[in-house]
Amino acid sequence: MNSVVVLPVVLPLAGAAVSLLAWRSVRLQQVIAVVLVAVSLALTVLLLLEAWRDGPVAVTLGGWPGSFGITLVADTLAALLLAISLLTILAVLVFAIGQPRADKGAFYFHPLYLVLTGGVSAVFLTSDLFNLFVAIEIMLSASYVLITIGGGKAQVRSGMTYVVINLLASTLLVTAVALIYAATGSLNMADVAERLTVLDPTLVSALGALLLVALGIKAAIFPLFFWLPDAYPTAPVAVTAVFAGLLTKVGVYAIIRTQTLMFPSDGVSTLLMWFAGLTMVVGVLGAIAQDDMKRILSFHIVSQIGYMLFGLSLFSVAGISAAVLFVTHQIPVKAALFLVNGLVEERRGTAALHRLGGLLRRAPLTAGLFGLAALSLAGIPPTSGFVGKLALVQAGLSAEAWTITGISLGVSVLTLLSMTKIWAGAFWGKEPEDDEVTDRRPPRTMTLAAGGLVAVTVAIAIGAQPLWELSVHAAEGLLDPAAYRAVMGR
């Protein structure tokens, strides 16, 4: 059973190689990609059940003892987030297959997509600091090519910013890893955590802060988020959807993992809380100013990252469980919103609000899907966003963090406001009289994929109770990592 842990990483990467060999047949590549992502998803669900019943599942690569070799660990947190990520990856893949555009059918799209999947799996499962860096790089190097697919002028411009910023963040990450290795002589996260306890607290805080900055750029927290709303909107829709759903959340996961395991705070972390509040407010204000659907949604990615950070900053079981539940709901919701945006773009050929309008009558299904996902993003009951935000607010109130809880509620209202702006601009009102605006019916596969992902968010709202129990289990495992350490041979 233990060796299953490597498969969600190895299967997509091996699939990418096979897929490259099959470059003559895009159809074959599509089959390979779908099958491998689906199998990885099934295996991850098995791992999640195993971790939930019997504690973390670990495998040490190459048979080296824990503190020397690289260990892959699937605990409840990693398996839960990986499962929901793979589900989202699968839905976006189906969407991309349905999209009738030449550049998505290019022979390099599917191999890159599989490399990205393998990288995401590796980030979630690794328990080694340097391996975390390598996993993030695997994921990012695929994303660099995906974001500039097509090589248009706007894409090259924003792709440049994206690559430079991420390369800088990676450099900072390796610097942090090197300094941590110099201070502790280990890279195994559980091992490092143990050795950091005997070091000078000032040194430990400095290391923790450097790591937080490096991962904070990748997670797009305030004030390190500026690259995201510039870079994401220019990429092809399917690529933006998978990035929006996953990449920043992978950064958040890495922050949660490293900050709880290696740099735990005794009580509420005021610094993180301020960053969380500012991330929420600045993100949502940025969104309100925009006029393009993709750009509005991109700013909301930033805003929602603040909520996750808010949960983490409480450093209590309630706070971290709420953050985990919130991440679980955000991954599919964010991707679903971008997929719906893709449906609108496919139909009209644009996502600029002043050139849209009257879609409610033309495409009631698209409108309904957008409505559900948008309400979920704003956190209106009975959607999945409500469950996540309720848990966060309750955790905030019980920790007596009044200000940040108030801010989070205010930001929800502003989120609803900007969702209303999209609704009023794109779905209500008159049809534009512009001759350039088209009315193409998107293929059924695309609608099906977007609908499936919205259905997942509804399922999260319905299955909130078991998911909440899983999140609490994950949070308890983070705050008391005895079991996590035990499987790593410590």
């Binding site: 340097f130 390598v134 790089e137 190097s141 660099y144 090519v145 500039t148 090589g151 002028k153 706007a154 090259v156 411009r157 924003s158 792709g159 440049m160 910013t161 690559v163 430079v164 390369l167 800088l168 990676s170 450099t171 390796v174 610097t175 890893v177 090197a178 300094l179 290795y181 110099a182 890279l187 709303p229 510039d230 909107p233 100013a289 925009q290 006029d291 393009d292 750009r295």
Partner: protein, 137 residues
């Protein structure tokens, strides 16, 4: 010995950061390359002093073994930086063929929105804004 290397790391980081803050793409790429080299030297330093080769079966050593792990890490980091740097150069070349300019442009849409705001609030003549000096340095 270590101090010299440490100062070297500092110089690499400093010059790298300076170049990274420029607006020309080639300088940014060079800056990132220097930063990458700085980190690699830092990784090597993280392993402590030099020693005998860390080979299994090498028993005649009088000095302690050198730590092999940082070397492995530095190699991995070099390979990754090398690959991404190549991609970045290709991207810079593509950017040059498209725009015939080596400068990093602003976020176009953001500029447009900021301009609309300014027009709404200050009633500045649109013509005056077209000649925004920052757009055409």
């Amino acid at each position: 010995m270590n101090l010299v290397l440490l100062i070297g790391v500092g110089v690499l980081f400093g010059t790298g950061t300076y170049l990274l803050l420029q607006r020309t793409l080639t300088r940014i790429v060079l800056g990132l390359a220097l930063l990458g080299h700085g980190v690699n030297v830092l990784l090597l330093l993280a392993g402590g002093p030099a020693g005998s080769p860390p080979l299994i079966g090498e028993t005649a050593a009088t000095v302690p073994y050198a730590d092999p792990l940082p070397q492995a890490m530095a190699l991995t980091a070099i390979v990754i930086t090398f690959g991404i740097m190549a991609f970045l150069l290709a991207l810079a070349y593509r950017s040059w063929t498209l725009t015939h300019d080596d400068e990093v442009e602003d976020d176009v849409e953001d500029r447009r929105i900021a301009r609309t705001r300014a027009r709404d609030e200050d009633h500045i003549e649109p013509d005056a804004l077209e000649a925004d000096p920052e757009d055409h340095p």
